[in-house]
Each structure stands twice: as C-alpha cells, then as structure tokens.
C-alpha cells in the first residue's frame, strides 16, 4: 500500500500536481476548508484555496471539477468564492465539465432574469464568465453552439458590459460555430441595444445577408430618442446604400438643434457613399485629405473586408505616406500602420520611420 502511495506521489510530481489519480492532499484540504466556510470566508482565504487548487490540479480532474462546480452552484457561498470557483472550473474543464459550466451560468442567468431587475451583486458572475471563463471553455469544446448562445444572451440580457465590451465581440467572432450562427448572434446583439457601438472587427464579419433585419430596425422608429443608432451605424459601416434615406431624414430633423448629431449622421452617410464603388476607399486612403471623424484606418479595414487585394491597399497606404507632409496630414499614421500590420496588409519593413507604441502594457 505504501508503494502505491509513493508511486502516486511520484506521478503527481511529474505531472506538476493533481492527475487522473485524483486530487493531492493539499488540494483535498483546501477544498474541504473552502466548502466548509460558506459565506463567512475572507477574500484572502478564498484566494489562497484557489491558488492551492490551481497549482496542484490538472485539467480534467473529475473529483476537483465536481467539487468546484458544487461551490459554483451553491448560492449560499460568498460571491468571491463562487467567482473563484467559476474561474478555476473553466481553467480545469474538459469538454463534459465545460458543458456543465455553460449550463450553470445559463441557469443563473435565467433565474436572475425571472426575478426581475438584476441587482448589482448578481451582475458580476456572468461578467466574470465573459472575462475569464468563456475563452478557456472555447479551447476544450468541439461544438460551440451553446456557448455562442450563452455569450449572446448575457449581452442581450443587459448586463454591465463596459469592461468586457470587446471580449463579447471577440468571443462571438472567434468561436467555431457556423458563420450564419455567429452572424445571427451579432444581429441579435445589435438589435438588443439601440445606442451602442459595435467594434469594426465584428461588423466586418457581417455581409449583405443581415441587411433586411437591420433595415427593419432602422425604419421602425423615427424619433431621435428611439431611432436605432446601432443598426444604422452598422449598416453605414457595411455600406448599405438603402440606409441613406433614413439617415438623411434623421439629419434633417436634427438640423441646427443638434449639430453634433447632424455631424455624426453626415459621417455615416459619407461612410456609405465612399464604398460605392469600393475603389473610392483607395482614393481616400492615398489622398492627404483630412476629414473630421473619417479616419483612414477605418477605410483600410473596410477595403480589406470588401476583398480589395492587399497589395493594392498596401500601395495606397505607402502613397499616402509619401504625400502627407504636415503634422495634421500625418495625424493618423501610427494607427494606419498598426491596422495595416494587424491585417497583414503591411510588412514589418513598411513605414519603418513610423514608430509604433512601445509603452508597456497598461492595467485597467
């Protein structure tokens, strides 16, 4: 018996902690104390339990996962405790556990939804799932359909999204669900929040197939307070010529009473017009024209999304770099280079005289 224990210890050491043989004694002890303290734990204790489990457990350890999911589901546990259990469950989950996590988060979402307005304290778990959990699950799940639906529903349900705003859209666009399902989810998200901004990288995954649903929203309400600005902006980004009428109507009604809104509408109309034909985008990129709220980096991203060959876009960026002389004309060069490199339009040697930001990472 002693030999068996020793072999288990050696195997555990080789694999860096817990293995298929089961949780180590440190992990067992940490989980025992974690489960036992209920709502009276200090944050320091919970973090220390979590650190022990994280250091000594392997992905897919069924015993550890079962107990973590138990803590996650237990509504009498303190929030911080459930949050750490959620993070760890996602980090350690195999495919079966990942499906359970999705089910638990969804069930919490539905319960809170059914009870009326979501209290501040209940907003945090779905946010944590988006912030720290979903990406881990994405890596171990083969079928992303349920995960996609959950991410979309958290957004649509109106949770605070300010600090995970990009994460929602990155998760939706990067998951392995079929393109049509991802586009449908994005349309639902756009429709759900009439005064939001959708990141351009997400807009660029959409195409003409979403026009009818979004046009319907734009036409549904004409008063500026209820007008669907999100749908209108997405259609403008996508270059839908049919949206121009609605935008011009809004611009007329905004008029001199709201010059800022009128200006934003003008920009949206410009965005549509400059995509017809798409070669106008290239002319704009190459020029030295400086127009309010019309950055070249936007034009480059749209040109790429519309399928214009990268070599042609690259040439126009380089042409702009040659022509632009004044500080004002060169105002967007750093952003232009960053976008060009990100999309693979520019190579490392291009625009070597334009320094990219070398600041160390910042903390939110």
């Amino acid at each position: 018996m002693r030999h068996v224990v020793e072999i288990a210890t050696i195997v555990a050491a080789i694999y860096g902690g817990g293995t298929a043989l089961g949780a180590s004694s440190e992990v067992q002890a940490a989980l025992d104390r974690w489960e036992g303290t209920g709502e009276h734990q200090s944050i320091g204790e919970v973090l220390s339990f979590a650190a022990t489990v994280r250091a000594h457990s392997a992905r897919g350890d069924q015993e550890v996962l079962g107990r973590l999911l138990g803590i996650l589901e237990n509504s009498t546990q303190a929030f911080v405790s459930r949050r750490e259990a959620l993070r760890l469950s996602c980090e350690l989950a195999d495919e079966a556990a990942a499906r359970k996590v999705v089910k638990i988060v969804r069930s919490g979402l539905e319960t809170q939804h059914a009870e009326g307005p979501v209290p501040d304290s209940a907003r945090a778990l779905p946010g944590e799932f988006i912030r720290h959990g979903a990406r881990h699950l994405m890596a171990v799940m083969n079928d992303h359909t349920e995960l996609l639906a959950l991410i979309k529903d958290i957004y649509v349900a109106g949770y605070d999204v300010w600090d995970v705003w990009h994460d929602f859209f990155h998760l939706i666009t990067e998951c392995k669900a079929p393109l049509a399902a991802r586009q449908k989810a994005l349309v639902d998200m756009i429709v759900a929040r009439p005064a939001d901004q959708i990141p351009l990288f997400a807009v660029n995954t959409l195409d003409e197939s979403v026009f009818p649903a979004l046009r319907e929203r734009v036409k549904a309400e004409r008063s500026p307070e209820k007008f669907h600005w999100t749908a209108a902006q997405v259609l403008a980004d996508l270059g839908d010529a049919e949206v121009i009428t609605a935008l011009q109507e809004q611009k007329r009604s905004s008029g001199s009473a709201n010059p800022k809104r009128a200006r934003n509408l003008e920009v949206m109309i410009w965005k549509v017009q400059i995509q017809h034909p798409s070669s106008k985008l290239l002319d704009f990129i190459a020029s030295t024209e400086v127009l309010e709220a019309r950055p070249r980096s936007w034009a480059v991203q749209r040109a790429a999304a519309l399928g214009i060959p990268y070599q042609r876009i690259r040439e126009t960026i380089l042409e702009h770099d040659r022509q632009a002389r004044t500080k004002v004309e060169r105002g967007g060069m750093v952003e232009l280079k960053r976008v060009g490199l990100e999309l693979g339009i520019l190579q490392g040697v291009d625009l070597s005289h334009v320094p990219l930001d070398q600041s160390p990472e910042t903390r939110p």
């Binding site: 320091g44 973090l47 650190a51 303190a78 304290s121 709220a293 105002g331 750093v334 952003e335 070398q358």
Partner: protein, 266 residues
C-alpha cells in the same frame, strides 16, 4: 538599452539616497518630511469644444466633477500610507486633434501622439480626464487605465487616464453610470494605487494585479463588487499595510515617479 537605462537610473537614485542619508547624519536629526505628489490634471476636449458640455467628443465631465475626483483623492491620501499628500493639484485644458480625426471613440495611438507626448510633465503625476479613449492594443477598452513608472522616457510616459462614461448616445459607454456618483471617485484612487505600487510582473498578486494573494484587504473589489463589501460610497479603498509602506516610502523619498526599486531597504 532599456536595462542599461534602468541600471543607470537605479545607480543614480541609490547614490542620491546615500548622499541624502549622509547629509542627514551630519545635520541635526529631523523627522521625515511629509512626502508630496505634484499632480497635473488635464481635461481633454476636441478642438472647439468647451469643458463640461455633455455632447463633447472629448471629456464630458464638468469642472466641478473633475474637482470632485481630485478632492476625493486629496482627502483619501492617507490610504497610501504615512502622510502622503497630493499637492499641488493643477488642472489644465488641452485640445486633442485626434478627436477631430476619429470622433469620440479614439484609438490610444491618436491620444498618445496628440496629447500624451506633447502634454506630459516629468515631475508631475499626469492624470488625463478624457472621453472615450481606448486603452493600448490588444485590450482597446475605453475605461480607466494606468501606465506606472516602471519605465521612463523615452521608453514610457507614466500616466493615469480616466474616460468620462457620461451619456453617450451613439457610442454606448456608460462606464461609471453617472459621473457624479460618489463611488466612481474611487476609480481614480484605484489607478493611483496601481501607479504608486508598480506591481507589473511582481509576484504575490492575482493575474490582474488587483488583489494581493492571501490578503484580506482588497484593492479592486470595492469598485465593482457589490455583495458582501460595505458600500464604497462611505469608505475609501483599502491598501494592505505592506503596500502602504511601499507607496509611502516612494513618496517620502521623492522617487514616486522614477522606475527604481528604491524601497527594498524599507
């Protein structure tokens, strides 16, 4: 190159400390001087905009709201240990051409080129009150963020940036719900704690460098977490005592804005 510069700065700081200590031995012993952090707050608006206008592309906070942030920081200064104080606190307005180019949602690079680099003061804690500037890639979020003095120019320009989060029809960012909500003032204290602590890459913190592992105190939770924590409207943030020692030490030694590990002997 960076390492070399850091080493030079460390050596200079150490030398300064040694000289300072020797001088203080020669003089009549005195109590430590109260450490102060000089603050330069910048309210960033677009060309042609005025401070406090609610549909600005730039900062939509009023001067009174900005002052309230700064006053809260001043009155809660003791959370950073000892007799730390923020003084003087100066406020200036700056026009950001990047806003003209990009509109309200501004990429960090545009902010950096048009505001940060031209309007940055080496001897001050530079705090920028802005509209919806995105944090540097790859995060890209228009919230509040900090670059601490882990590097100095030309490699880094330490700063704190707070976006307004006011009403934003057409942009959708409601970061602090309403700028006048008292608990939002702790966002600035939180960022100042990052700035003075310089936890970047340091062990002993959680992955976000917000929570000291094993500590019952919390740096982060009071801002956004809710349940079991007393309402943040009443209490300022808490820093664990060890961290208070670090921040106080930097301020007391006058090296709060330098990238040096000067507190090891404290």
């Amino acid at each position: 190159m960076t390492r070399k510069l850091k080493a030079i700065i460390c050596l200079s700081c150490s030398a300064a400390l040694v000289v300072g200590a020797a001088c203080s031995l020669l003089r009549k012993p005195t109590l430590p001087q109260t450490g102060t952090v000089s603050v330069r707050a910048w309210i960033v608006v677009a060309p042609g905009e005025s401070v406090g206008t609610r549909d600005n592309d730039g900062c939509r906070m009023t001067m009174a709201e900005v002052s309230a942030f700064l006053n809260a920081l001043r009155s809660h200064a003791r959370m950073f240990g000892g007799n730390v104080c923020f003084d003087p606190i100066e406020v200036a307005t700056v026009q950001d051409f990047g806003l003209f180019l990009h509109g309200r949602l501004e990429p960090f690079s545009a902010f950096r080129d048009n505001v940060l680099l031209p309007y940055w003061m080496a001897d001050r804690l530079n705090i920028y009150f802005t509209g919806a500037v995105q944090s540097p890639p790859p995060i890209g979020l228009p919230q509040a963020f900090t670059e601490d003095p882990s590097q100095s120019p030309p490699f880094g320009h330490p700063y704190i940036l707070l976006n307004d989060g006011g009403d934003t029809l057409g942009t959708g960012f409601h970061q602090y719900r309403t700028p006048s909500e008292l608990k939002s003032y702790h966002v600035l204290e939180h960022e100042v704690a990052h700035y003075l602590l310089r936890r970047s890459g340091a062990p002993g913190y959680d992955v976000e460098e917000h929570v000291p592992i094993g500590s019952a105190n919390i740096l982060w939770e009071r801002i956004r977490l809710p349940p079991e924590v007393p309402t943040p409207d009443i209490l300022p943030l808490l820093l664990p005592s060890a961290e208070q020692g670090e921040t106080w030490c930097r301020v007391w030694n006058g090296v709060w804005n330098l990238p040096s590990p000067e507190c090891n002997n404290f």
